[in-house]
Amino acid sequence: MKKTIVGMVLLIVCALFAGGCSKDDASQIKIGLIAELTGDIPAVGASCKNAAEMAVAEVNAAGGIQLGDKKFKIKLIIEDNAGKADQSASAAQKLITQNKVVAIVGPNASRYALPAAEIAESGKVALITPWSTAPKATLNSRTGASKKYVFRACFIDPFQGGVVAKFTLDNLKSRKAAVLYDVASEYNKGIAEIFKAVYEQNGGKIVAFETYTTNDKDFSSQLTKIRQAAPEIIFLPNYYSEVPLQIQQAKRLGITAPFIGADAWGSEELLKLCGSDCEGYYFSTHYAADAAGETTRKFIADYRSRYSTTPDDVAALTYDSFGLLKQALATAGKNDRQAVRDALAGIPRYDGVTGIMQFREGSGDPVKSAVILKIRDGKFTWFANAKP
């Protein structure tokens, strides 16, 4: 009996290893994807996975990428980080050591991108995070200099926070603002602090600066405090799954001031969860699906025909991340980690579906514009552009 069990276990282990390696032929380029497929922001992970699969399918349908004298197909290896920082790190570890990928795309939220970026940096594998806007993601945690192996497809929060603060002051003519943000999350905290600094520098006053922690559902205490401070506008730099609760509770407490948000609002899920409560509010984000140029329109049409939904910013940025990677692979001309990283770092400018990205020497952060969207008739509509 015991022997049979041991035998079976051995068999299973062998099968697992064999399954993991059997398709491992040399004519494939392996790219890892870490996405938030489950956890608190699954819509982000789903968009990321969809766009990644579409980008890879396009390349493979065209026969693959020309490396030297041979065409290579891309094999996408998808890992779920379950919306957890530790699983993001272990997913990156697994992709690097076990799957031997040539580069990694994702994770998206900054609090997951940070640990994965650390692993990629120490494992010397290029990682592009599509959506993480926190500056720290591409910075070395010890020296504060730029990481060598970490890149992103989006702008960073010092820019975005400034854009929102100036829009709030100049276009919405407010002078008294309140902020409610998740103090336990890298992205929310970073952008809230930048907003505060820029808003106050430019003559505004922050009358309430309130916090909560991830997974809180009751904001009544903080919102009552905000009501007491009588702001003209309330900034909520929080994820799409929490914002509707905050706005609904605020309205129930009799708060009439409008709200404003940032790129973490930009999921179609927000519209579903909000109902009509978010009507008329503005937020900053990476691209506007309704004010797109030629290449972007083609991307949107392809995505729609594949998934019958409009791609959100995460989808567009993931697609651009793969675009960058494709270009880097073609330039590098070989299926090699270091060569791909060097080619990525050498790209000066890339025209993506989310606009023009310009990379400065030695930094993984692109310089690109932001857009301000307005929620009108239950849809995200373009309102303004903000240049860097």
Partner: protein
């Protein structure tokens, strides 16, 4: 002053939900001396029942509430029969680990069905009354009144009915009570049904008050309700209610008068101090009269 009363109202709403969930922990502990760590997840299942009934069957508030309570109560009884009963004589630690396992199962089962957060449609028209500077929403009143009502009914059942007397007797002495002709299994099932049913009711009320629900929503709320039960004196029904309102008040009022970043830190320090002064909880005694 209006600010203080507004915050007090917020505290009452949060506290009454904590109290409803804490009751489930305390009742099960009272009768089985076991901590049902799956209770927070049963609360989550209650919220998902509410979502299914309200969205797919388009039921109105009262049938949604009753059916959700019934559904969660049945689930609670089934879980007790399948998972806890075989371990009734096993060490308590094994039973607690089983409970944690059941909780994880419920979370991941819901997660496997759909990982997306769900929006609960407004089942009742919400009206906000303004009294002076105070904003009172009809939803707030409903949550508070319904919770208090359910607690009063429970208190009546435990202290004034035969079944309640049997529950209290079992918590005193499990070996003697069957000799008196009481069916222990039936009473344990009943206790589970009532305790988890209240958790289901809390799930519905919670998802009306905070209408975005997800499979992980029960974890933190469950832990906090467990703390309420301990602070009130675990095993004591009235203690759990008091504990719920205390934690609700502490959480809201700390954030109201200190920077909100310190909320959990100050709230839980206060509760620790309270437990140092009263190690068995507010109404608990070393040999307490349970449930």
């Amino acid at each position: 002053m209006a600010y203080f009363f507004q915050q007090l109202l917020n505290a009452l709403q949060l506290g009454s939900i904590y109290a409803l969930i804490a009751l489930g922990y305390t009742m099960v502990y009272g009768i089985l001396t076991m901590i049902n760590f799956a209770h927070g997840d049963l609360f989550m299942v209650g919220a998902f029942f509410c979502f299914l009934l309200a969205v797919y069957l388009k039921l109105s508030f009262v049938p949604t509430l009753l059916l959700s309570m019934l559904g969660v109560a049945c689930l609670g009884v089934i879980i007790e029969r399948l998972a806890y009963k075989p371990l009734r004589t096993a060490p308590r630690v094994s039973a607690i680990i089983t409970a944690l396992g059941v909780g994880l199962f419920l979370e991941n089962f819901t997660l496997a069905l759909s990982p997306y957060p769900k929006h609960i449609p407004p089942l009742l028209k919400n009206v906000t009354w303004t009294v002076g500077e105070l904003s009172i929403s009809s939803l707030q009143v409903l949550v508070i009144v319904l919770s208090l009502g359910l607690m009063l009914i429970l208190d009546f059942v435990v202290w004034r009915t035969k079944a309640g007397m049997a529950m209290r007797a079992i918590s005193w002495d499990k070996t003697i009570v069957p000799l008196m002709g009481v069916s222990v299994n039936k009473i344990i099932s009943l206790t589970f049904a009532i305790g988890t049913g209240l958790g289901g009711a809390a799930g519905v009320l919670y998802s009306l008050a905070y209408p975005v629900i997800d499979p992980y929503m029960g974890i933190m709320v469950g832990w906090k309700a467990f703390i309420c039960a301990v602070v009130g004196g675990i095993g004591n029904v009235r203690g759990a209610m008091i504990g719920g309102f205390i934690l609700g008040a502490v959480e809201i009022l700390v954030a109201a008068f200190f920077p909100s970043t310190y909320r959990d830190f100050v709230a839980f320090t206060l509760l620790l101090v309270l437990l140092i002064l009263k190690p068995y909880g507010i109404l608990g005694r070393p040999q307490p009269q349970k449930v």
